[in-house]
Structure formats: structure tokens, C-alpha cells
């Protein structure tokens, strides 16, 4: 059913349709509308879930850890400072292989304080061992939640999933969204039946400590599960497409990359803007990274096999180096087997702390790349303020 709804509502609706047993969250702008909508569903009896209002994001994720280990399907949502406060628990949840799903609303990190969008928060959490999927639009943020549970709970994967969506730009926007029906979601997503969980019927120990002769193997198994997740993300996207008659999923998307001399690589809500701009340009293409962890190395190499110019646009920076996606992308290209193909790669940091970015900016970037001039690594920097 297509309805014009707020992005946050669409996400909450998807969580409801997944028959999530336990929701635990702490309010933080701009994640609030998601959890408010969920709280209302529960209050109205539309959603049979335990909704746990906690005293911090650290506890929100800890409640999810306890509930997931007990066999419940769990959900949380947070952003920015909240995600940072959860950091320790993120590692713990993934290390214990608990298939928690969380919407990470993307927002800048303090200082200076900013409630506006960039992707520094979830990028900084990239090494926590969670699958990270970045949504382009509201429909995708909604669809990804449903797919996320299926990926996370797969016994070959058993990893938590962060569905990342740009704060305000997606959470607070009203768009026509094809809201999943209960019938479709039930047919697509089986109930969560973990092999091991906390029960008196078969007492198990969760969260033991590992000495140096055993720790590394746990990390390796975690790494392997993440590698296996690549195939599952693609498989689940196909299954989703078969049931819901639309394709939103997989590791990457390519848009007009065939024969393009400039390919923009990016993640998140800016993609719509870029597609519009590309439609007006000739021989320009877009590579969308949907799955940032696991990073689709092979798919990226293949997609950029014939590229001459690659421009990575991202809303984060690893201070002391460059944008994290830029580093990852170059590493993927460098590792190409056989004849190493080295397109000219430029990395652009843009939109930090919610700075606006338009289709005209994209056109200018493409034009400048074609002149062979070096691009400035901070796009739209106001030098007069420095």
C-alpha cells in the first residue's frame, strides 16, 4: 500500500511488521520520531512488543543484548552521541553474535554540537563488527529493516545489522512509501528461532572470557560470518524482490556506469540528488555503496573496471587521513588481481554537519574532474571563516 508518510513512520511500520518482540531506545534528535511512533503502536495495542524506555543508549543496547540472548527479536534506534555512547555494547552484541537490528540515524558528532546530518557517527562505528547498510531513500530505509532481520538471523551470519539513514533528510521527510503488509512480511520473514538462547531447559553460558589461546579464533569466526553475509545480503535482496516486486537491496547499485568517464561513489540520501544531476550529464555514472560492512571489494572492482575517473563523495572524515570510504575504495582497487587497474581517484568530503549540497554542485564536480584539475578535498569549505 503506497502512502505518503514521514520517513520515521515508515521505519517504525517496518519494525512493527517484523513482529519485533522487544524495542529499547533512548530519545535523541533526529531519531525520536521512530521511537515515538513505535511507542504509540504499542500504546494502541497495534504492536505486541515490550517497549523499554531506558536511561541511556548504553542501556538501550544492553537491554537488546539481554533480550536477544533470551530469544527475542529486538530493535533499537539511535544517532550520533547515542551511537557513540553505545560503542562498547556494539562490539559486545556482535561478538556474542546477537542478531539485533538498529536504525542508525546519521547525524554529526560533537564538538561543535550539531544535530544535523552527516555520517561520521556510523562510519566511526564501522569496526564494531556490525553489518552496515546505507539507505538512499525512505523506501529503502523501510525495506532494509525487513531484510536486515532475515540477514541477521540467518544461522550462517548471526550478526547485528545497522540500517543507516540520513537524519532529517530521510527521517523527517514525507514521501510516498510502499508500506509492507503483514501478510507479505510474514511470508518473507520467518519467526526468530535461535539455536542457542538463555533458557532453563538447556542452561548455557553466554559471554565467557577467552584467553590468548582462544580469543583470536572468535574474532576470525566473526570475520568469516561477515564475509558470508555478502552472499546472504544479495540472496535476501532477491527473495525480497520476488515477494515485494521491487528491488531494494544487495551490496551495491550501479547507475549509468557503462561507458562513463566519471563515476561518483557515495552512500546515503545524496544519491537521489546525484542521479538527477547525472541524468543531465553525459557519460557520468554513479556507484552506490549500500553495504559498507561487509565492504563489497569484488563488486566495487568489477563496477569500476573500466572507469577513468572515480570521485568518492562522503560525509565523514578520519581526521589525520581522509574520508573512510575513500580509503576503503582505493584499498579495494589496489588489491585487484592481475593487471592492476588504477583509475584516477579523488576523495571529497562534503556536507559535514548538515551543510547543503545540490545537483549543481555535482555538475560542477564532474566538469572539473574532466579538466584534469585536482579537486579540493573539502567541498564547499568557507575559507573566509577560517
Amino acid at each position: 500500500m503506497i502512502k505518503v508518510v514521514e520517513g520515521s513512520y515508515a521505519v517504525a511500520h517496518a519494525v512493527k511488521m517484523c513482529r519485533t518482540n522487544v524495542v529499547s531506545a533512548y530519545p535523541i534528535t533526529p531519531q525520536t520520531h521512530i521511537v515515538e511512533d513505535l511507542a504509540k503502536f504499542v500504546a494502541d495495542g497495534e504492536m505486541k512488543s515490550e517497549f523499554v524506555n531506558v536511561e541511556s543508549e548504553h542501556s538501550a543496547m544492553s537491554v537488546c543484548v539481554g533480550a536477544s540472548a533470551t530469544g527475542a527479536r529486538t530493535y533499537s534506534a539511535t544517532t550520533s552521541q547515542g551511537l557513540a555512547l553505545m560503542f562498547e555494547v556494539l562490539f559486545n552484541a556482535s561478538g556474542m553474535r546477537l542478531p539485533i537490528v538498529m536504525t542508525a540515524v546519521n547525524r554529526a558528532i560533537s564538538a561543535p554540537l550539531s544535530i544535523w546530518n552527516d555520517q561520521q557517527d556510523s562510519i566511526s562505528a564501522r569496526d564494531c563488527g556490525w553489518i552496515q547498510l546505507y539507505a538512499e531513500d525512505v523506501q529503502e530505509a523501510h525495506d532494509m529493516v525487513i531484510q536486515a532481520y532475515k540477514i541477521a538471523e540467518d544461522r550462517d551470519v548471526l550478526l547485528p545489522v545497522m540500517v543507516c539513514m540520513d537524519g532529517f533528510l530521510l527521517t523527517h521527510i514525507f514521501e510516498p512509501v510502499n508500506l509492507a503488509s503483514q501478510e507479505d512480511v510474514d511470508a518473507f520473514l520467518p519467526p526468530f528461532r535461535p539455536e542457542f538462547y538463555l533458557t532453563t531447559k538447556d542452561p548455557k553460558t553466554f559471554g565467557a572470557f577467552a584467553e590468548p589461546d582462544k580469543y583470536m579464533e572468535f574474532r576470525y569466526m566473526h570475520y568469516e560470518a561477515m564475509e558470508r553475509a555478502k552472499g546472504k545480503i544479495v540472496k535476501v535482496a532477491r527473495e525480497f524482490s520476488a515477494r515485494f516486486k521491487r528491488f531494494k537491496g544487495g551490496l551495491i547499485d550501479e547507475y549509468k556506469t557503462d561507458g562513463a568517464d566519471v563515476i561518483i561513489v557515495t552512500m546515503g540520501s545524496v544519491i537521489g540528488t546525484i542521479k538527477d544531476a547525472i541524468d543531465r550529464e553525459k557519460k557520468a555514472g554513479l556507484l552506490k555503496i549500500r553495504s559498507y560492512r561487509p565492504f563489497p571489494k569484488d563488486e566495487v572492482r568489477k563496477a569500476l573496471a573500466d572507469a577513468k575517473n572515480v570521485v568518492v563523495l562522503e560525509k565523514d572524515i578520519s581526521i589525520g587521513m581522509e574520508g573512510a570510504l575513500f580509503t576503503d575504495l582505493k584499498a579495494a582497487l589496489y588489491r585487484s588481481g592481475g593487471r592492476p587497474r588504477r583509475p584516477k581517484c579523488s576523495g571529497l568530503i562534503f556536507g559535514l554537519g548538515g551543510r547543503d549540497f545540490s545537483g549543481k554542485d555535482i555538475s560542477n564536480i564532474i566538469k572539473k574532474v574532466r579538466t584534469g584539475k585536482e579537486l579540493e578535498s573539502f567541498f564547499g569549505l568557507r575559507r573566509e571563516l577560517l
Binding site: N21, V22, S24, K48, S49, E50, V52, N53, V54, E55, S56, H58, S59, A60, S62, V63, C64, V65, G66, A67, S68, A69, T70, G71, A72, T74, E88, V89, N92, M96, L198, T199, T200, K201, P203, K204, T205, F206, G207, A208, F209, A210, E211, K214
Partner: protein, 304 residues
């Protein structure tokens, strides 16, 4: 060992764990707790001695379902377990209990316990209090007593050790409106076990369990129970029970002993016996015991 004649029906906390010889703390806390709860329990622990001595992968001393997540979040994890059991229609399967040390409970874990109690999650939180961060090498915690020498509050030429008093944990949690709150000691197993039985039937509940640590406090490993009893007999560790905000039971003391007897047994207070100034300090500690006696009515009167 059977404590005070309680038959050890089934060892739900298995022997063979790696606790120190004579551990009057984590090991006894776990053992007595499970004697009280039986098998129908799910336990969450923060990072603490208990976690380290009982679960080196792939071994586990726990014969009940048990989870350790992090240092400061046991109460939140337990809340998650409790709501999950409810959501999955398994609420009658088990009681949810936390057991953790004083650092993970009363310092870094205080906020999570506050959250769980304020929400009214049906959990019992048991803090076994060995009065410092023992697992990491005897650093001071918010539950370290006045004048105790620890590695981060050492006694020295110009210091008598820890300059502050123990945090009043029961006071904090009773203020949350919990149903049941009690103090206990591993040296009085029967009393403690009875209290655990009451606590799990009256959740949310909290038990502050005094738990002597021979390694950290500096006494012979055969003296754990003796030291624990002296803490009670001197009035330094009053044993009481609070139901719905009211003190309902106090363990009376006949012929309360001077605190010196308790302090003298422990290396952490040895510096108090070195000179005249130490005597003044012991007087201050005696005054604390006297204040406890007055506040909780510890002294048994003639004819009581």
C-alpha cells in the same frame, strides 16, 4: 561444605572454579545464591571476580543459564531478559537475578541499576561487596570503607588510606521504591539464603552482601567467615531488611565487639596500629559503628 547445616542438594555453581582459596566473596555469593534460587533462574553478571573465576572459555561453573555482557550493564541486560521472557510468553520459566561486585554494581553500574529499578523490572540485584576492585588488583571503589589502604588509596606518611565512607547502596535503591531490600553477609549463609528466597518473590529487589576477600583485605584464607562475622558483630556491617521502604528486621548484636578486633585482623587497616594518630582514626571508625548501632538499633538490650 554445607553452610550452617544447609544440605547442598545440587551444586548449581560447580566446584572447580578458579576462585582464590578461601574466597569469602564471589564464590560463596554464587554458591549460596543458587542454593536459594534452585534451577529456575537466569543469572546476569557484570565483569567481576565471579565472571573471571567461573567462565574461562570453554569451561563454566554455571549450571543455570548465565550471561555476562559488560562491566556496567548487568541490570540493563537483566531487564532485557525479563522483558523478553514476558514478550515470548515464558515469564514463568525463571526468576531473573544479577550478581555482581561492588565496582560493577555501585560505581560504574549504578545508573543501569537505577534505570531497572525505576522501570520496575522484575529483577533481583545482588551486589557482593568485597569493598574494592579486587579483580584488577585492589583499587579503591565507592564501596571501600574509611581508612582502608588500597592500591589507589594507599596509606602513607600523610594518608590513612581511603578518605571517604562506603556508599549507602540500600539507601539509594530504597529511594527508588523497590519492594524488598536487605543487607547480608556471606558469613551468615542461612540468613542470606532466606533473604534471596524472599527477594526473588518480591521483585524488584536488592541485596547488599558483605563479602570478605582474603586476598584484597589481607587476612589468612581460613579466616573469611570469621572476618565477615566480626564486621557484623562490631556493628560496622549492620544486617537488616527493608520492605516497602520500612525497616522490618534487624540482626541484633549481643555484646557488640570493639571495631579494633575487626580492623586488627586485616592488612588493609594495619597502618592504623602504628602510632598515636592511628588510634584517633580507630576512634572515628568506632564512632561509625556506634552510629550504626544507634541508627538500626543493633544492640540487644537486657532481657531481649
Amino acid at each position: 561444605m554445607s553452610a550452617e547445616g544447609i544440605p547442598e542438594r545440587k551444586r548449581l555453581f560447580a566446584p572447580g572454579h578458579r576462585g582464590c582459596a578461601g574466597c569469602g566473596s564471589a564464590a560463596l555469593a554464587a554458591k549460596f545464591t543458587l542454593q536459594a534460587t534452585g534451577e529456575n533462574v537466569i543469572v546476569a553478571s557484570p565483569t567481576c571476580c565471579l565472571e573471571i573465576i567461573a567462565t574461562p572459555y570453554p569451561e563454566s561453573a554455571w549450571k543455570v543459564p548465565w550471561i555476562h555482557s559488560l562491566f556496567e550493564n548487568a541490570a540493563a541486560v537483566a531487564s532485557g531478559i525479563e522483558v523478553a521472557l514476558k514478550a515470548l510468553g515464558r515469564a514463568n520459566e525463571a526468576k531473573v537475578v544479577c550478581i555482581g561486585g561492588d565496582g560493577g554494581s555501585l560505581d560504574i553500574g549504578l545508573q543501569a541499576i537505577s534505570g531497572a529499578f525505576e522501570r520496575g523490572n522484575r529483577i533481583t540485584y545482588i551486589c557482593y561487596d568485597n569493598e574494592a576492585y579486587m579483580n584488577t588488583g585492589v583499587q579503591r571503589s565507592g564501596s571501600t570503607p574509611y581508612d582502608a589502604s588500597t592500591t589507589t588509596s594507599p596509606s602513607g606518611k600523610v594518608s590513612f588510606g581511603n578518605p571517604t565512607n562506603k556508599k549507602n547502596a540500600c539507601g539509594i535503591f530504597v529511594a527508588h521504591g523497590i519492594t524488598y531490600c536487605a543487607t547480608a553477609s556471606t558469613a551468615y549463609a542461612k540468613d542470606y539464603i532466606e533473604k534471596v528466597k524472599v527477594a526473588i518473590e518480591n521483585q524488584p529487589s536488592f541485596i547488599h552482601l558483605h563479602a570478605p576477600c582474603c586476598t584484597g583485605w589481607g587476612f589468612d584464607s581460613s579466616k573469611s567467615i570469621e572476618v565477615g562475622r566480626l564486621a557484623v558483630e562490631t556493628g560496622l556491617w549492620p544486617i537488616y531488611e527493608i520492605r516497602n521502604g520500612q525497616i522490618t528486621k534487624v540482626r541484633k548484636i549481643r555484646d557488640r565487639k570493639p571495631v579494633e578486633e575487626y580492623l586488627r585482623m586485616q592488612g588493609r587497616f594495619r597502618h592504623l596500629f602504628d602510632g598515636e594518630k592511628g588510634k584517633e582514626e580507630i576512634k572515628k571508625i568506632q564512632a561509625m559503628a556506634d552510629e550504626n548501632a544507634k541508627r538500626y538499633g543493633l544492640d540487644e538490650k537486657e532481657g531481649e
